[in-house]
């Protein structure tokens, strides 16, 4: 299990890093869109 843990952790770190970066970009884009929409409504 130890070796599996190290291999899994290495692989998942790369995968989560790439997908997580996209998540941040999308999250900030959605927040920006909401902020602009609320500013226009005001």
């Amino acid at each position: 299990m130890t070796i599996a843990c190290v291999v899994w952790y290495s692989t998942i770190t790369v995968y989560v890093a790439i997908k997580g970066a996209k998540d941040i970009k999308n999250m900030l884009a959605r927040l920006d869109a909401t902020r602009k929409k609320e500013a226009e409504e005001q």
Partner: protein
């Protein structure tokens, strides 16, 4: 004596700190409301959630006590991590408790408890959570500083100043950007932390060798180094207590639950849990390997908590040492920022709720949240760093943790799934969960009851707390006269 090179390793650490601070400060412009500040506007997606949760729940203190577990119990020391992974995966797959919790749209657990048990129980639960959480967190700074002193050879005279500067830096971006800063910096810290953990582990496996690690455990602990049920310091009671503890933590530790509540929807929250579950095996197993390597290299030592950092200080070469220190700082900073924000959310949302007769403006809400985080930071500095803690560290963590976990998990499960649960049962459960661990702690300290406490042991005491807290919920609820009407579950 250490391999830490101030020019090379210091530069790596400095670069990491600079990038983290810049990233944390850059997102503050997206914070316009309390909802953005506390739960990132509920826009967090799966992989960001996984990275943030994995980073938050791995700090220097975790690294040290999991390594100590490896040193003292061999591979069987990873048992708590395996149990937590099982609990988290099970909860994620079934949605047990977390589905009704996220569906309700609440920001904190006590907010949900009010719907079933009323305002007083919400307030009492909020106090329990904050007290347990802050007292638990109070020891992180000093223990983290001790690790850095041992590994990097820092002058112990500068420990308080250095950890103060670190906490101030974390507090600055947490105060300004709230959960958004926490998520973004957690992500960076997850990457740095993971790289450090993996590289050091590979180094150890190459230098010490897998065979030597296994042989060391076999020689020192026999079958007990692999099987917790036959380990004389563990046994079935250790496994059962840790199963209860980790299940309760998965359901109710606010810093973990905060990721579910910040998720864009319930399904995302559940996927964050199932996706993060196996990290908790790694959380114990990887530092556990470091602890076993310390045992294989150093042999028996007087202070088992310091064995791993002492070993690493001379085993890790310059260059990689900088990455290791940056990784551990990353681990600590992600924990500090998340924990500060989490306890702030409970203080603001639940403990201050009675003072908000009318809804506060977003501006006022943000001001108070930021002020609370600053005050938490000051408390941590005074209590955790500048005031030396006396007594046994792990007993202290165990007691503060169980008071919180036993009561809140019982309340939350009953709130979600038992129609007859009411405020009498909730109050009784809170009382029992506080009385048993504190009584055990007092018994341990008194000469007249010390031997009895030792014979009972922390695991039986902990198991009894969970069982009797549940019983108190049932009995208290059934005793309440039917004429008192309660609210429904969420």
């Amino acid at each position: 004596m250490t391999n830490f090179n101030w020019l090379l390793d210091g530069s790596i650490v400095g670069l990491y700190l600079l990038v983290t601070m810049v990233a944390g400060l850059m997102v503050r412009k997206y914070v316009g409301k309390v909802e953005h500040f506390l739960v990132a506007g509920r826009e967090m997606d799966v992989y960001l959630g996984i990275a943030s949760l994995a980073a938050t729940e791995f700090g220097i203190v975790t690294c040290m006590y999991t390594a100590q577990n490896g040193y003292e119990k061999g591979f069987a020391g990873a048992t708590p991590g395996i149990l937590m992974a099982v609990a988290m995966a099970g909860v994620g797959l079934t949605g047990f408790v977390i589905k009704p919790l996220r569906d309700s749209g609440v920001i904190t657990i006590p907010e949900l408890l009010e719907q079933k048990f009323g305002k007083r129980i919400r307030w009492a639960a909020g106090v329990m959570i904050v007290l347990g959480g802050l007292l638990n967190m109070g020891v992180f700074l000093r223990t983290g500083g001790q690790f850095l002193v041992l590994v990097a050879g820092l002058n112990v005279r500068y420990l308080e100043i250095m950890m103060t500067a670190l906490l101030v830096g974390v507090a600055v971006y947490t105060i300004l950007g709230g959960m958004l800063s926490v998520l973004v910096t957690d992500f960076l810290q997850f990457v740095v932390m993971s790289v450090g953990l993996i590289l050091v582990t590979i180094l150890i496996l190459m230098n010490v060798g897998w065979e030597k690690l296994v042989t060391t455990v076999e020689t020192q602990y026999g079958a007990g180094g692999f099987n917790p049920f036959v380990n004389p310091t563990m046994g079935w009671q250790y496994v059962l207590f840790n199963l209860m503890l980790n299940t309760a933590a998965v359901l109710t530790w606010q810093t973990i639950i905060a990721r579910v509540l910040a998720a864009k929807d319930t399904q995302t929250g559940r996927r964050v849990y199932t996706g993060t579950a196996f990290f908790f095996v790694c959380r114990f197993l990887i530092p556990g390997i470091w602890g076993i390597a310390a045992l294989a290299t150093l042999g028996p030592v007087a202070n088992t908590l310091e064995a791993m950092p002492t070993y690493l200080s001379t085993a890790v070469p310059a260059g990689l040492m900088g990455i290791l220190v940056a990784a551990m700082l990353a681990a600590d900073m992600s924990t500090d920022s998340s924990y500060m924000l989490t306890w702030c959310s409970v203080i603001y949302n639940d403990i201050l709720a009675p003072f908000r007769k009318r809804p506060w403006s977003e501006r006022k809400g943000l001001f108070w949240n930021r002020t609370i985080i600053a005050l938490i930071g000051i408390f941590l500095l005074l209590y955790g760093l500048w005031y030396p803690l006396k007594g046994d560290l792990w007993t202290y963590l165990g007691v503060t943790g169980t008071i919180y976990l036993a009561s809140i998990s019982v309340l939350l499960i009953a709130c979600c799934y038992w129609r007859k649960a009411n405020s009498w049962g909730a109050g009784a459960a809170i009382l029992v969960s506080a009385i048993i661990p504190v009584t055990y702690l007092v018994m341990e300290q008194l000469p007249s009851t010390g031997a009895l406490a030792k014979s009972i042991g922390p695991y039986y005491s902990g198991i009894a707390t969970y069982i009797l807290s549940g019983a108190a919920m049932v009995i208290g609820s059934l005793l309440k006269p039917q004429s008192h009407v309660e609210g429904r579950t969420a």
